[in-house]
Symmetry: C2
Amino acid sequence: MAARYEQIAAELRDEILAGVHLVGSQLPSEAELAARYSAARGTVRQAVAILAAEGLIGSRQGARRIVLGGERSQSFAELHSFAQWARSKGHAVGGQVLAQRRRRAASAESVRLGSAEVLEVLRLRTLEGEPVLLERTVYASWIASAVEGLPSDCESVTQALYDRVGLVFAYGEHLIDAIAAGTEDARLLGVRRGSPLLRQRRITTTQEGRPVELSDDRYRAGSVAFSIRNSIGANPLTRLALP
Amino acid sequence: MAARYEQIAAELRDEILAGVHLVGSQLPSEAELAARYSAARGTVRQAVAILAAEGLIGSRQGARRIVLGGERSQSFAELHSFAQWARSKGHAVGGQVLAQRRRRAASAESVRLGSAEVLEVLRLRTLEGEPVLLERTVYASWIASAVEGLPSDCESVTQALYDRVGLVFAYGEHLIDAIAAGTEDARLLGVRRGSPLLRQRRITTTQEGRPVELSDDRYRAGSVAFSIRNSIGANPLTRLALP
DNA sequence: TAGGGGAACTTGTACAAACAAGGCCAGACC
DNA sequence: GGTCTGGCCTTGTTTGTACAAGTTCCCCTA
């Protein structure tokens, strides 16, 4: 059972996406919404704060909230899990582990992951059958055996780890830039050496702040872009497929 | 005068960055903080919500909040304004308008900006004297004359527009991907044709939802990366310079 | 000693009330 | 006709209270 303010947020979001509240128009005042949902004003404020963080509505003190529009973003799950994002967008997703081995952590890795031994995995992910993403991931030793137990063509590692050991990826730090494809990148992704790739390096931790993985993901140019909707207060992020 | 919860958030942030609360350790409980700052628990909750959104601390119901991390992110201003970001990081920033003209809006532009005529500006930005960013920006007609009034080597357009006409960029939508440098890109940025560039396309609007500009920014690879710190609840974003 | 059961603690949710700050509009005034 | 002002509306901030839900840890029991 979701919280009351989440229910209200969901109803308002649906109304906006359904066109009940047109883009550019004013949302009902907090007092009206509170009356409509028989909730306190504070509860309504929590609800609209969610929508504002999603970039769906804007607000200024003194004036009514304005519908800014368009699509919403699920943000975190989408950013973290390639498979979850792809499936939610209706894409056919595939994956294959190409190499996997345990080794001693390099010094930078051991500092960031907090473990001396790591599990290194090289995965190739496909979208509609086309290779689009090369993942070089290093897992901390405490989660390594669970990762080794996954099938080599596991679609969603995030989902599988949640189902098997209850692991939740709660926080992530991502670094996004562009680089030229190296020899191995080019061969596996089916592009020419030196062609542009979109690189996402990330470290993910659990809710307690324990590091789980360190990853270097490389997307073929033209296949995927990152989309960020931000406002003065908040900055959600999603990933989009290019036509 | 900032709000009380902002002051508390700032103090806590400073304490965390100063090492008073070590990474991985527990933050004082809401009740303790409320007593310390002589504020209500609700006010303290607003303060810690800010830090959680910045990715600085994590929280789970029932357990004390945990200090997750290191640097904080100013997020919006940094994402939007190249100059503001660069200056805050201590970089020497420069800029030059290479071309500027009014023209009729293409159909896609007129739909997104809501104006039939637009001002097109081509700007080259430098970091420590090196060209790193090529901006192709299209402004809506209602702001065009203010932009034309700016000096051609204006460092921060965002700041200048705020100072002159009180314009505040409140919402942005950004699309980040990698592309190969075209002939003009390569010449102006001083790289070889076909070498990778990090592209950021964005549309920015005011607080009322009025579109201001549409831009296509291209960064030389290796000069700048985007950094995103996200949590289940929130996703701030910053930009980082590479060594 | 290992495990279970609670009690105490902590964060999450919800409600109510009051005042501050800023926007909006209509009516008064020049 | 244009402008200005004042009142009303709406959002922002703060406090207080109460209960729900999850975590932690100690103590007691088997």
